[in-house]
Symmetry: C3
Subunit: 350 residues, 3 copies
């Protein structure tokens, strides 16, 4: 990646002030930037750095007036922060999608159909009857079981494991070590106190634009034809547990180490903080917000609730109760003193 | 897998009504089933579907009397649900055990002895001096360290990691990404506030019929000759942490994201819910039941207790206390009002 | 590994009593030891075993006087326990460092520079522009992304995943399945309720003498030039989540399944127990001790505090309050009785 300052200005719809021919090969913060790099100035408290930076170019607001001499070329734009973010995104696409081709050894089973412009890293494994779309990146040590279907532009980072029959949509990112489609935790107790394994024959269905964090696990549904479902736009962090037959609604966000038990349905646009636990067979309404470490043991029917505690209650009520909890020893003492005063005063106990 | 309806009826000890020659290649729910598939009808509320299903065959109760025309062949049995479950199990065995042979490249160290009818997936790694029984399935990217011993019929899913010296029994299932035998967390504090690593030289011993969930971790014991032990029939879910020198008793079930600290012994037939934490060096009695997110800081001596909370108490007591916890601000107000009434009444404070 | 008893005595600065020529090939506990093995006797309650052990040699205190016949050779030292620990450590180094050479197939990208005396296991993957020091052990299925830097004597166990640009110091141990450098969890909410992915362009920096547990995850920093930082001597257990831009201070110890949210700075010499959760953007003072399952929602300014609960409070205060929590139903009853007595006594309510 190497563009001239003038090319970048054109990309951003901005105007160059100074030399536009120098080459840029990296983005950096204004206080750290070196020659060949581009930075931005948005917050006035960083203005001091524009007079000393080594950056070859700095993106500034259209009406910026320097108070001292500036060595860098400037690119004048309406909103420097937005412009820089745009550059970051373009750069990120470049590096995310620079991998392509097939590294050997890699394994490809029978009757699998692979799209255009694929990266298949060394030691990646693709089973039989697999269908994979275009522009998919399959990093080293990825395992794709038989009959898996993957859409376009999806990235499977190193060592992602997809059990047989998993379906994944377009534009998904699955981070390293995530396991999709492992057996649901289903065991039938027997009379001799052992457990018999209930065969887990469903699959996992992940829709478009979903992100799954590193080392998270999503179990398959129990029955043939059923799916554990992650809807469009869901964003899941690391080390999350999603049990069999769970459904997560559109655009719901789940922080790290949260666990959701079997057959629970989470609504759309919910926000689950870290280390939350949700019991099985519940229905959680849309727009529910659940605080860190909360334990949810009942369905949530009204949209927009904010909950915390175990079992979870309204977040404001929880903190009011917890404030008194911290004074409980004192409360106990006050109560005992009252009992003694009452007895001394001669009020009988019954 | 393809059987005729008549063959399936014989397998189930049932009787065919209609054409027994058509071939069945899949199981399905009655409302979804297509040609070539078999379904069942047990719950009367699904009876409507038997008149419209595309299933080639439906398993029904011996005395079932259809009220309208039925296109599917029927298999008459005593208990349709049980019969279908039996078919599911047979099917599951077929697909679980269909993998066999050696995919290349795979790695096999010196002096290792491998049984009959093994599946060794591509990129699987087996170290030196390993002993593996018959009918074992080793999926791609599995790592089996030196001196490991594995019994018959055990399945290691993709990317399972067995450190050196691990012992695993017969009929176990270890899910993708699980790590068995990593170092226990042992560090000796030094005068300069650094920590010195205590060598971890024991191993992990897993008995027969154990299931370990995806991305779970079981650490090895500290000393030579000692083992972290998972007894017969234990079922463990995903993302569980088992520390060094722990022992889990027979037929105990542990839900996802639970953690058990070093040297703790869990009894037989216990049920630990999700996200439970258990401190180190404890002994938990047989038949103990521990609720989700509970924290156990003391040994449990009496069998059959049900516990919750942090530190955990009896589950009924916890919920009674928690009911009052939710009213604490109100309780505090009532107490203050009493104090004021008492003062107004002229009862002295001492 | 095989040394004579005399060689081991010399190594320990001890003196042989009996035959010094027999060969030792393993360490064992005195009650379990067999021929060819060495044990130790420190605690007097184990003295009985020295008269029956099969050990070829036993390490004893200089002034030890046997009361019966002893078959083993003795090595007389000042402190048998310390001497045995020393042997354990030497043995552990031997087995840890015995692996060397390159197993095939393994993958090495362009322009990568690898030090002396390296072990590269089969199916290990090293990307481009990687720099690796001397005596590094890279087990099978390890993934080392582009531009990664690794110091001397570091061990990457099976299936460790290092995203591009990760830096790791000297003498580190990373356990199986750990993921270092995955994307931070950063998403910008859009007007249509979807989330846009914020590119994650920083890296992870791990200093010297750090241990990372199995299946733990450390996310990269968000911005170019920024790092998620794990300082010298930090010891982390299994299944831990470290979010983007976190910094963990020197010699801090973190137990299993704990999670630390984005941009939080943990001080030096802290001890975090298991399943702790810490919110984002906090600063935790040096020498802070946090109890199991605690939830930290505010910065801790004073050094040396001990905290527990959610939100966490001083550990003594928590247990005092919790003691009353357990009596809350009783407290509630006592309060109601007082109210009734008061009313009967004729004291008016206002």
């Amino acid at each position: 990646m190497e563009f001239s300052i003038a090319q970048i200005a054109t990309m951003l719809g901005g105007e160059v002030k100074g030399d536009g021919t120098a080459k840029i090969n990296m983005l950096a913060k204004i206080q750290d930037a070196k020659k060949g790099q581009i930075a931005f100035l948005s917050n006035p408290k960083y203005e001091q750095f524009i007079y000393t930076t080594q950056a070859s170019a700095v993106i500034v607001k259209k009406d910026f007036q320097g108070k001292k001499n500036i060595n860098s070329s400037l690119i004048l734009v309406d909103d420097p922060y937005n412009s820089f973010t745009l550059l970051l995104e373009e750069y990120h696409k470049l590096i995310s999608f620079q991998k392509s081709g097939i590294e050997e050894p890699s394994y490809l089973g029978e009757k699998s159909v692979i799209g255009q412009n694929i990266y298949r890293g060394a030691f990646s494994y693709i089973g039989s009857n697999v269908r994979i779309g275009d522009n998919v990146k399959i990093y080293p040590h990825v395992y794709v079981g038989d009959n898996v279907v993957i859409g376009n532009n999806t990235i499977l980072h190193a060592n992602v494991k997809l059990y047989a029959d998993t379906h994944i949509g377009n534009n998904c990112v699955i981070h390293a070590g995530a396991v999709i489609g492992s057996d649901g935790f289903g065991f039938a107790p027997q009379e001799d106190k052992t457990y018999k394994t209930i065969p887990q024959l469903g699959n996992v269905l992940i829709e478009d634009n979903v992100t799954i964090g590193a080392n998270s696990v999503i179990d398959c549904a129990t029955m043939f034809g059923d799916s554990t479902i992650i809807r469009k736009g869901v964003k899941m962090d690391n080390l999350i547990q999603i049990a069999h037959n769970v459904e997560i609604g559109k655009n719901t966000v789940i922080a790290a180490q949260t666990g959701i038990s079997g057959s629970t349905k989470i609504g759309e646009n919910c926000v689950l903080a870290g280390q939350v636990g949700i019991a099985g067979h519940l229905v959680i309404a849309n727009n529910t917000s659940i605080g860190a470490q909360a334990g949810i043991s009942k369905s949530i029917k009204d949209e927009g609730e904010r909950l915390i505690g175990y079992p979870a209650v309204d977040i404001k009520d929880y903190f009011k109760s917890y404030a008194v909890f911290k004074q409980l020893p004192d409360l106990n003492t006050r109560l005992r003193q009252l009992e003694e005063r009452m007895s001394r005063s001669g009020v009988s106990e019954n």
